[in-house]
């Protein structure tokens, strides 16, 4: 085998590796984008239950006054979410609004025992709890995909391919700052 043939084979292998790395970065970026869209889709599921929640709360005047404001805050925060832009701060705002609403509902249940007995209210609470679990899971998947993407552009030799061709920046994972505030420990990343 002459040296030109060896050179051609090595060049071919390098080109193939670059193409594979380039495509890998693209597919991981798309996976992170899709996972983000999934989080937004799950968040928007809340819009479906808000009308039901309003119907139930209208039956209880005292309950309604406290919770209506929180429903409005949640609706407004949901309106600010976009599946095209990975805005983790806006997502944190929605999560805070949801937490406030659920807390408000729990407090109202204590002062309104008949509300607890309301079948529709029980179903709504269960639905909200499941939606929150789904959002938590969607965020976990998003963070996993972001980690895979970040690894994909930072490890060698992908970092070279990315800096020359893909030119993608590192993505931020979603951190629940309110939940983090409860911990004394802060990781030194």
């Amino acid at each position: 085998m002459d040296s030109s043939m060896v050179f051609l084979i090595v060049f071919g292998v390098v080109i193939l590796a670059v193409v594979l790395i380039y495509n890998g970065i693209i597919s991981r970026a798309n996976a992170a984008q899709r996972a983000w869209a999934n989080v937004i889709t799950q968040e928007r599921q809340k819009n479906k239950i808000i009308p039901h929640l309003q119907t139930v709360t209208e039956q209880y005047q005292q309950f309604e006054s406290g919770v209506q404001e929180k429903i409005t805050a949640l609706r407004s925060a949901l309106g600010g979410l976009s599946s095209d832009k990975m805005d983790t701060n806006q997502l944190a705002e929605v999560e805070t609004a949801t937490r406030n609403l659920v807390q408000g509902m729990h407090i109202a249940v204590e002062s309104y025992p008949e509300l607890k007995a309301n079948e529709m209210f029980g179903k709504l609470m269960r639905e909200i709890a499941e939606q929150q679990e789904n959002i938590g899971a969607a965020i976990r998947i998003f963070n996993q995909n972001v980690e895979a993407f970040n690894n994909g552009i930072e490890i060698f030799p992908n970092s070279i391919v990315n800096s020359l061709l893909n030119k993608k920046s590192k993505l931020n994972t979603f951190n629940d700052t309110e939940a983090e505030a409860g911990f004394d420990y802060k990781p030194n990343f």
């Binding site: 991981r28 639905e127 959002i135 969607a138 996993q144």
Partner: protein, 338 residues
């Protein structure tokens, strides 16, 4: 064999027979306690006096050795081979008798511990025919289409699980299948030989009614399936480990909510070679490579006090319980709250 020893052994044999009947009829933990109290009250360890058998075995072995020596020094001795054969046969008989006696007590300890495991896990035995049941399950699940020579259910129990929202019955099984293949070898002289090799495999799993989802297969060890459509959820980790096949991709997308995806990811970390098949008749078969329904006792009837303490403990199979809990979570996310 001296008289007192023979009578003690007879007494023990009768006692063990009565224990065997009582263990088979035990339906409550109190029944098991009563059996162990009876063992403690027997007054002596549950052990056969095998001295006579050991002496007979030693004598037979000595005779066999002498006969073989005689054959070695006097090859023309006609009687020696007969003596040797008879002595070897006698040795085998006494060795078997000792083994059977020892095994009987171990077998009863196993049976009693198994009753306890069944009670603690609320299991019931069900009559079944291994090959027929595997064939029947193969109509619904491709899991039972493994193996080209033999497919059989080798163990089966029926149990139930009560979760916060759903109650369900399940069957836990062990599946044994055999692959037959031809192996061709060539020796140093160039002669080609073909022989048949049988590879035995075991898989384990649960099957249960799951009304909320149909016609979806999620597999980490793919081997074929009934459905042609495929679906990939958003999780890179899930897609790296599992493949999803479905009759209707929309149904798969609807079922694989984020919470379901992470639940299956976590289940896949606990159970290797995990497959989930949702049949068209509303049944779920969840199968894996390791036996999560196995148990191991520490003590036996030869140590009744310690054995009683062990029986008093909880024999709930943790990994099985966790798997059932995860199945319940899948149900919770697949049902309709309204």
């Amino acid at each position: 064999m001296d008289k007192p020893s023979s009578s003690a052994n007879q007494q023990l044999a009768l006692f063990l027979d009565s224990l065997s009947i009582q263990i088979a009829g035990a339906h409550k933990r109190e029944d098991l306690r009563a059996i162990l109290r009876k063992v403690s009250a027997f007054g002596r360890p549950l052990r056969y006096d095998n001295r006579a058998y050991w002496i007979s075995l030693s004598a037979a072995l000595l005779t066999a050795a002498l006969a073989l020596l005689s054959l070695y020094f006097y090859p023309n001795n006609v009687a020696a081979p007969w003596f040797a054969a008879a002595a070897v046969l006698t040795s085998l008989v006494f060795a078997s008798l000792i083994y059977v006696r020892r095994n009987k007590i171990n077998g009863l300890s196993d049976a009693l511990y198994q009753r306890d495991v069944y009670l603690d896990n609320a299991w019931q035995s069900e009559p079944y025919h291994g090959k027929s049941l595997a064939a029947q399950l193969g109509q619904q699940f491709s899991e039972f289409r493994r193996g080209n020579h033999l497919r059989e259910i080798s163990w089966l129990v029926k149990g139930e699980y009560q979760g916060s929202e759903h109650h369900f019955e399940y069957h836990a099984y062990n599946f044994h299948y055999v692959d037959r293949r031809q192996v061709t070898t060539t020796d140093s002289k160039g002669r080609v030989r073909t022989r048949t090799v049988y590879d035995h495999h075991y898989r384990f799993g649960l099957y249960l009614p799951f009304e909320f989802v149909r016609d979806i297969a999620i597999s980490s060890s793919w081997f074929g399936g009934f459905f042609s459509g495929s679906y990939k959820p958003a999780s890179v980790e899930f897609n790296r480990k599992f493949k999803v096949k479905a009759q209707n991709e929309l149904a798969a997308a609807k079922f694989l909510k984020p919470a379901v995806v992470v639940e299956i990811e976590d289940l896949g970390k606990e159970l290797s070679e995990l497959n989930l098949e949702f049949s068209s008749s509303g049944q779920l078969c969840i199968s894996y490579a390791q036996n999560i329904c196995s148990w191991q006792r520490q003590y036996g009837l030869d140590n009744p006090e310690q054995f009683l303490r062990e029986i008093e403990g909880d024999q709930t199979l943790t990994r099985l319980h966790n798997t059932l809990k995860r199945i319940h979570t899948l149900m919770r996310f697949s049902d309709n709250n309204f």
